[in-house]
């Protein structure tokens, strides 16, 4: 590593430690930011010599990164950005903090995938899904798929592991046909993780024709785009590998969506030479991910926190939540997106029959939505009021980003 990069890396670690000591978050953003100021190529320097996997997509990337790091951990030390700091500053900080490691598994914000591919030259990139998310500032879905595709074409030697169930991802992962490709791209490895959300892929990104669906299958009615045959598939409570062997997967994380994330983690780890039989037990060791899925006892209630940031992840959260009193909390601050329109993309009907409480900065937006949806609810001003409004037992909490952080902070204060 050049001297400038060494200095930058050391200063970055110190800044992160100072930020943590001052109680200002985990310091992974500020540390990386300072390091990149001193050496703009610091991320590339820190990445060189490591076998790296990147994980990107709209939903599930923090959890999948955590599961993948656990699986690759069979081989040795793995650097990872486990706090969800998923932009280049966070990657820089994570690699600097980890010191020299043979492996790294990095979660990447979907907007930064091209830049991070360029800087880190990963061995593998896993593409999970693309759906609408904070559209007041994020790029729309088709645009994002286009950016991914263009970035992957520039790096044909990277192994792509992609979701066969998401038409936008399949299109992004499939390079356009060229007459004389200079390097034949590595074949894509497809996994099937299931997908509940279909409302961003009714129209083919290649030709604009309608996309038809039947059972697991989907195909464009106007061109070549269709669901590829997946090599890694979730089946019952396990995962089938490309050899056809079924591996039972016992997770502490709830929901079918996390079985899909486990399948992805096994597929990525296999690219590093990890056998699924060696990796599955490590997946079961993951109990919570940056506070998500964490269970906290409070006043005789067992509170479980689920994060749901956009329509697709709300559908998954309803699947994870048990039939129990449920608190929904919605904010619309900068990290959440300022627009609450997406509430009408979510069908809250699965909550009928449960005791539903609502809170958050934008509880009234949610109130109008639930009213139209025919879901009875009770508005509470605070998390504490929510706790006292439900009987002893389980309380499921589903919240979007800053609402989730608010509730975590409140639970940390009292516990």
């Amino acid at each position: 590593m050049p001297l400038r990069a060494k200095v930058a890396s050391s200063v970055s670690r110190t800044a992160a430690a100072l930020s943590r000591a001052a109680g200002r978050g985990d310091g992974s953003v500020i540390g990386g930011w300072i390091g990149l100021k001193i050496d703009p190529d610091l991320l590339a320097h820190l990445a060189s010599g490591r076998a790296i996997a990147l994980v990107s997509g709209t939903n599930g990337k923090t959890t999948t990164t955590r599961l993948t790091a656990a699986a690759v951990g069979v081989l040795g030390r793995v650097a990872t950005n486990s706090f969800g700091a998923n932009m280049p500053t966070g990657h820089t900080s994570a690699l600097a903090k980890a010191g020299s490691t043979p492996y790294a598994v990095l979660e990447v914000d979907e907007h930064y995938l091209a830049q991070v591919l360029e800087a880190t030259e990963p061995r593998v990139v896993a593409l999970l899904n693309l759906s609408r998310d904070q559209l007041d500032r994020a790029k729309e879905v088709a645009m994002m798929a286009q950016l991914w595709r263009a970035a992957l074409v520039r790096h044909p030697s990277i192994r792509v592991i992609a979701n066969a169930d998401d038409p936008m991802v399949v299109w992004a992962a499939t390079p356009p046909a060229t007459r004389s490709p200079q390097v034949a791209p590595a074949p894509v490895i497809w996994f099937s993780a299931g997908q509940r959300w279909h409302d961003d892929s009714w129209v083919c990104p290649e030709c604009g024709s309608p996309i038809e669906r039947m059972a697991d299958q989907w195909w464009c009615t106007g061109c070549w785009l269709r669901r590829p045959e997946p090599q890694w598939v979730v089946e019952d409570d396990g995962v089938v590998d490309p050899a056809g062997d079924w591996h039972k997967v016992v997770l502490q994380l709830p929901g079918r969506v996390n079985l899909g994330n486990a399948a992805t983690a096994l597929a990525v780890a296999a690219e590093f030479g990890v056998r699924p039989t060696d990796a599955v037990s490590r997946l079961g060791g993951v109990a919570s991910v940056a506070g998500r899925y964490a269970q906290v006892a409070k006043d005789g209630r067992t509170v479980r926190l689920l994060l749901a940031k956009n329509p697709a992840s709300w559908l998954e959260a309803f699947d994870m939540a048990e039939e129990a009193p449920t608190l929904l909390s919605i904010n619309a601050r900068d990290p959440d997106g300022l627009d609450t329109s997406w509430l009408f993309d979510v069908d809250f009907a699965p909550l009928r029959g449960r005791q539903v409480l609502i809170t958050g900065d934008r509880a009234y937006d949610l109130a109008v939505r639930l009213d139209v949806n025919g879901v009875p609810f009770q508005h509470v001003r605070t998390f504490t009021e929510a706790i006292t409004s439900v009987p002893p037992g389980r309380l499921e909490v589903i919240a979007n980003y800053t609402a989730f952080q608010d509730i975590r902070a409140e639970l940390d204060r009292v516990n």
Binding site: R132, D136, R137, W202
Partner: protein
């Protein structure tokens, strides 16, 4: 919820007294919770005891021409241009509008009711049902949108959220829906447009969630009555008050 509209057209299930709401091309024009407008109209009609039929018509299907209310949502440039082409080729919306059906359009759907709009840098022909033209503005308009509505419509102020790159120029054949107090709307001064029973706005997605009186106006137009029994609008009233207070606080 959606079934073959041709079957629904032929079947006697609807009958004269059923309010028929068509959501046009949800496969193309549905970006920001646009489904909400259909759900809200359906709910407010049912609470008054009206039978309602909601029909979602995909862009590869024919548009029924005898529905009472047609809804157009927002979309990205590509789907917007494609939606306009298919609607022009279909011809059904023009015939429905000429027969006196209600049309409510938001954002990209609003633009394509005009004579022309820009998508992906190209000028595209619209349906020419409203006398207006849209082009690209100097910046994207993203944020809260509010303003006093044309007094002839007798509605409380508009409250909504906008996210668009276009600017819309109104001709003499339409009236502005509102005068902008927060946001950009058509051009920073006026917002939306209406003529007869056609109404468009840049207040995107589930615009009717924050504007229940506007939802009732569309229902009154469709049924041909001056008054509807009032509903309990506690939550939308609180939402409007909260948004209005947030805008006032931001201005200070």
């Amino acid at each position: 919820m959606s079934t073959d509209p041709a079957y629904r057209m032929a079947g006697p299930a609807g009958g004269e007294s059923t309010l028929r709401i068509v959501w046009i091309y949800p496969d193309l024009l549905s970006t920001y919770g646009d489904r909400g407008n259909m759900l809200i109209l359906e709910r407010r009609a049912r609470l008054r005891g009206m039978p309602v039929e909601c029909i979602e018509v995909r862009s590869d299907q024919r548009l029924p021409i005898s529905a009472d209310i047609y809804l157009l949502g927002g979309g990205e440039d590509g789907p917007q241009a494609l939606g306009a082409q298919r609607l022009i080729a279909d011809g059904g919306l023009r015939r429905a509008a000429e027969q006196g059906s209600v049309v409510f359009a938001v954002c990209a759907g609003y633009q394509l009711l005009g004579g022309s709009f820009f998508a992906k840098g190209t000028k595209c022909a619209g349906l020419d049902l409203l006398d207006l033209h849209s082009d690209r503005g100097p910046s994207r308009a993203v944020g809260e949108l509010a303003g006093a509505i044309d007094p002839r419509l007798g509605l409380p102020p508009l409250s909504g959220f906008e996210n668009h790159g276009g600017r819309t120029h109104l001709g003499p054949g339409v009236s502005a829906l509102a005068r902008v107090s927060t946001g950009i709307g058509n051009d920073g001064n006026t917002e939306g447009a209406w003529r007869g029973k056609l109404l468009g706005t840049y207040s995107h997605g589930p615009a009717l969630a924050r504007n229940p009186a506007l939802a009732d106006l569309l229902l009154r137009w469709a049924i041909g009555v001056q008054q509807l029994p009032p509903l309990d609008d506690t939550w939308s009233d609180r939402l409007r008050a909260e948004r209005s207070a947030a805008l006032a606080a931001a201005r200070q």
